[in-house]
Symmetry: C2
Amino acid sequence: MVILGVDPGLRFTGYGALKLSGPPGPGVSVSIVEAGVFKLPPKASISDRLVELATDFGELLGRVQPQAVAVEMLYAHYKHPVTAIIMGHARGVLLHTIRKHNLRLVELRPTEVKKSVTGHGHAAKPQIQAAVQAEFRLAQPPEPPDIADALAIALCASRRAAWAEDMPPELPDDDHDTD
Amino acid sequence: MVILGVDPGLRFTGYGALKLSGPPGPGVSVSIVEAGVFKLPPKASISDRLVELATDFGELLGRVQPQAVAVEMLYAHYKHPVTAIIMGHARGVLLHTIRKHNLRLVELRPTEVKKSVTGHGHAAKPQIQAAVQAEFRLAQPPEPPDIADALAIALCASRRAAWAEDMPPELPDDDHDTD
C-alpha cells in the first residue's frame, strides 16, 4: 500500500508518498514513491493559489494512488496565528480533496511525528531533515524542510500499527465567535 | 446585479444575497434575494463538513447567480486561534469554490462592515442584528447572527462605489514556519 504525507501551506505544501512492504506497523519497511513540494506563486491571490493547490494535489493523488493520506493534527498554540489561519485555508482545501477522493485520512500529533523519526517529540526542523535523510539514505537533506516534514508524517503513519482503529478524533466544534 | 455576502465557519456559515437597484455605491437600494445559514453537523469530521459546505455553497451560487461574493478580510488578532484556524478551513474551501466559478471576490475589513451598517466600527453582534433588521424591515433580528453578519457584508459591499477598482490586497505570504 501507499501512504501519502502532506504538510500544507499556501507558500509551500510538502508531500511524500511511501510504499510499504507490508501492513502498517512498527517493523514495516518503506520506500519513497515520490516526494516534493508544491510552490505556490507568492504574488497570486489566496484564491488563485488554492485553485492551483487543489489541482496539483488532485493530480498527485491520481499519480501515486495512495490508500491513505496523513496530515498533522491542529494544535492550540501557534507562534504565528495569521500564518496558521492561512495554513488552515490550504489544509481545508486538501481535506476536501482527500474526502472527495474517498481516501482514508490519518491525523497525527506533531509530537508523535517528531518522536517517530528523531526519537524526541520536540525536534527542530534541521533534526527532522537529518533524520529523514538518514532513514532514506538520501544524498542531501530534503529542501525545503516541508518535504522532510511530509516524509516524516508519512513514515510515522506507516509505523503505526493501529491507525485503522484508533484514528484520533478531529477537533471539537468551532463556534461562530471568531471576532 | 446580485452580491452575495458570506460569513464562513465549520458550524454555521451565514449567507445573504442582495439584488441591487443599480451599480454599487453609497446610494444604491437593495433587496434580499435569499439569506440563510448552512448548519454543518457538529459530530461529522471536518473533512465531511467541508465536502457538505462546498456542495451547499456551489448549489447556492447556482441558485442566486451572484456577480460578486463578499467576505471579511482576515485580521491579525483572533480571540480564539484554533477556532480561527478551523474557520480558515471553511474560508479556504469557499474561496476555492468562488474562484472555480470565476466570480469576483470582494474582501472587506470587519470594521468597515460594522461601520457601514451600524455607524461604528466596533459594534457588537446584537447591534449588527438590529441594524440589519431595521435596514430590511424584518419582523425579527436574523438568527443565528451569522445571517445578519453575511447580510451586513453584502450590504457594505453594495454601498462601496469603488470595489471594482480598489479591492484590498489579500494577505501577505505565509511561510512554512507554522509550528
